[in-house]
Symmetry: C2
Subunit: 452 residues, 2 copies
């Protein structure tokens, strides 16, 4: 029996998209990813678009296009239909792939990230098409591997330049600053990574017989990692900061406006936000400053009690977050050069898995496009949006941003409470409706003859 | 059918002591340890001693005594009947608890460490008793937990002071410097240890959102561990070197005489012997200089590829080797104070498992006792013995050395080729005979009226 309290939007949403177990990182879910992509293509056709599945070396990409009026701009929407794994399953109150509505929220894996945000965008598109109100050309590109690195889409992109050419890129895969406080993401950091190993010993050695005779790889790894930063928290790799795009007075003013409650942060995370470089606000550090992070370090004994060994080797996993103006390959080369020149002479240093994921991306808060989005959000929320500079990286967005010459709008409607990537992911009906309004009004705004 | 090529010594040795599966660290071998102890007590009685099993909180200790002539000194012999585990069993050419003779060597777990060295000592004792030539009082103390920390014996020792009172301690649990080159161990290092944990984060954090905002426990652990040493390799903990007994010119001359082949070391270990403090020879560093070693460090991700997290915590296991004059509890307190004062303010530091295993022990190479042992070894080997300062620690020996006011003789007949603690442990018949000769002649020497 149909629940007549639910809107058509909710019914469509619950019944379909979150039901696909499209976990991109698990090979056994490949067929389910393909079924999800096929369903989305059918959905695009149902709302009046031409749609097809574009093959990549990995997961298929859903592509749809609806031609608009001549002389109006082309909008490219990017989203992803894949989701994170669901384990531990026992932590879920309801089945992650059987969407359930409780107290104004829809619970499912992908309920927000990114299926929920795709749903409101497509609903808005449908509404405009149904009412004959869509003026701009809209292209939709929904990939199936964002949670696993977007390798398929990245590899295929160079061949699709003509097909996906556009004037504006819209991405709805981020959060509001707080309930009722819209946000425009003005930047993403880039990311590079590598694995460093110090060894050379044939086996773990007796720490009595050999302590003070050989170099200790665990200790030398600590000393090597300690050279990566200066005492004030700045990265000590020579040349690492070269070329960083200057931060304008306006950006500095705006970043200081981002709500940041030190005590709330400490309560949520467990520690005070006092890492990184001295002399910058927390949101300046995550938005405008690069970092080098140790993601893990492992060497020798880790169990209870004592094992008096000198470990045969030590391994550390490193990533660096980059900001606008830093060339990723150069930064990676500089990090490797630093590690080589600071490594202890007597041990063997091995660098592996050195990889550029992607560069940083930054928008200009004063650009006409951003100002128009800010106007739309102000109309909806009756307050100015917050500009945020994300600390995270979505490398594929940086790639797509180049296609639209930087005319990128990153406006999403997630909230901290949504538990993305965690058990009991959900999305509130309230946020779904704000998202619908934004997408519809922004497409209307972009369809005006003045163009982006 | 008996193999008449084998001596009585070999037959006794093969048939009995190594057959007991006296692995102290495995609880299921407790009964076997007890049977081994009972066999040893019976053996002591068989050669003419009074013997008993002394109970401790863990494994029984075998105690034997044979009263000598009035006015002659008392010699305490210390050994251990327990052995290391045998895994991986598949690496053994013959069963580890069925002694097998091949090409002049006896193969079994404990063949050398320490059952083989006990065997030659008891054989020498038996020979002297049989011939009415034993003049000194001999006490034998054989514990069953040396490979697992000697907790039982250490706990019981204070109550046994009168029983085991002696003038000289003999221990045969070390190696010759090389085949044909006898060695007297002049020192053992002490050992202390602790576990240090840096945390406070409620969980692993996204390195993009939080990188540069919070302190990274893996990175901060590296920076903390890097403060433990100065650039020249010396320990940087304030006060750590206080009270270290000076090294005499004679000791410095003797340590320089210890054979040390840099290329052979590099070939065996895999790296050059260039760790520890600058300005000292390798054998000076392991014998006369304390160290702080990282036995293990673990934090965050260690698998293939990239996981962009800030690890919630980092754990490091540390031990320090101490030398004569360093007070272990004070050194442990200083290390803890150093870690506390250098820890990053924003993270939680936790020190656990802080423990003193035991102090260092050092003998005087010019003492009358050592000179007499050197004379005995010179007679047997027709060359001067080498004096070695061991880098390792046998904390219970340091405890026993106090009972004899430092009159300790650490002379053993193991060789590098014996594979102690490893598969295919063995002891050569040649070394068994050298050990027999040393034990017999040293007991004779100590039985002379001049006393130790």
């Amino acid at each position: 029996m149909e629940n007549t309290d639910k809107s058509a939007l909710e019914r469509t949403y619950e019944a379909n998209l979150p039901a696909f177990e499209s976990i991109s990182t698990l090979p056994e879910h490949g067929a389910e990813c393909a079924r999800c992509a096929a369903w989305l293509a059918a959905r695009l056709r149902a709302i009046g678009m031409e749609a097809e599945l574009l093959e990549t070396k990995t997961k298929p990409v859903v592509y749809g296009c609806r031609k608009g009026d001549a002389g109006r701009p082309t909008v490219l929407f990017y989203g992803h239909y894949d989701v994170q794994p669901v384990d531990p399953l026992s932590f879920w109150q309801s089945h992650p792939f059987k969407a359930e509505q409780r107290e104004g929220r829809i619970y499912a894996r992908g309920a927000q990230d990114n299926k929920g945000q795709i749903v409101f965008f497509l609903s808005a598109l449908q509404a405009l098409i149904d009412q004959g109100a869509l003026r701009c050309t809209v292209k939709v590109l929904i990939e199936g591997e964002e949670e696993a690195g977007s390798a398929g889409l990245r590899g295929a992109l160079p061949g699709w330049n003509d097909k996906i050419k556009a004037d504006v890129l819209m991405v709805c895969d981020s959060d509001c600053a707080a309930p009722g406080v819209p946000a425009i993401a003005m930047g993403l950091r880039g990311v590079i990574g590598l694995t460093v190993r110090l060894g050379g010993l044939k086996k773990d050695l007796h720490s009595g017989q050999h302590g003070g005779v050989v170099q200790n790889p665990a200790l030398e790894m600590a000393r090597l990692l300690a050279t990566l930063h200066r005492p004030d928290g700045a990265v000590a790799v020579t040349g690492f900061y070269d070329g960083i795009a200057p931060v304008s007075d306006e950006e500095r003013r705006l970043v200081a406006c981002i709500p940041f409650d030190v005590e709330a942060y400490r309560a949520a995370v467990g520690v005070a936000p006092i890492g990184g470089e001295k002399g910058y606000l927390p949101r300046e550090r995550s938005g405008f400053r690069p970092t080098i992070e140790v993601n893990g370090v492992h060497s020798g004994y880790g169990g209870p009690g004592t094992k008096t060994i000198i470990p045969a080797h030590a391994v550390a996993k490193l990533t660096a977050r980059l900001v606008a103006g830093q060339e990723p390959q150069r930064c990676l080369d500089l990090m490797i050069e630093h590690l080589r020149s600071h490594a202890p002479a007597g041990l063997e240093l091995e660098i592996s898995e050195a990889e550029v994921a992607g560069p940083a991306m930054r928008c200009d808060p004063k650009s006409a496009l951003v100002q128009r989005a800010a106007g739309v959000l102000k109309l909806i929320f009756e307050r100015e949006p917050v500009f945020v500079w994300e600390g995270g990286s979505v490398p594929i967005v940086a790639d797509l941003a180049r296609i639209v010459k930087g005319n990128t709008l990153l406006v999403g409607f997630g909230l901290e409470a949504d538990n993305v990537h965690a058990p009991n992911e959900s999305f509130s009906l309230e946020q779904l409706k704000w998202g619908f309004l934004y997408a519809a009004m922004m497409l209307q705004e972009l369809g005006r003859p003045c163009a982006a």
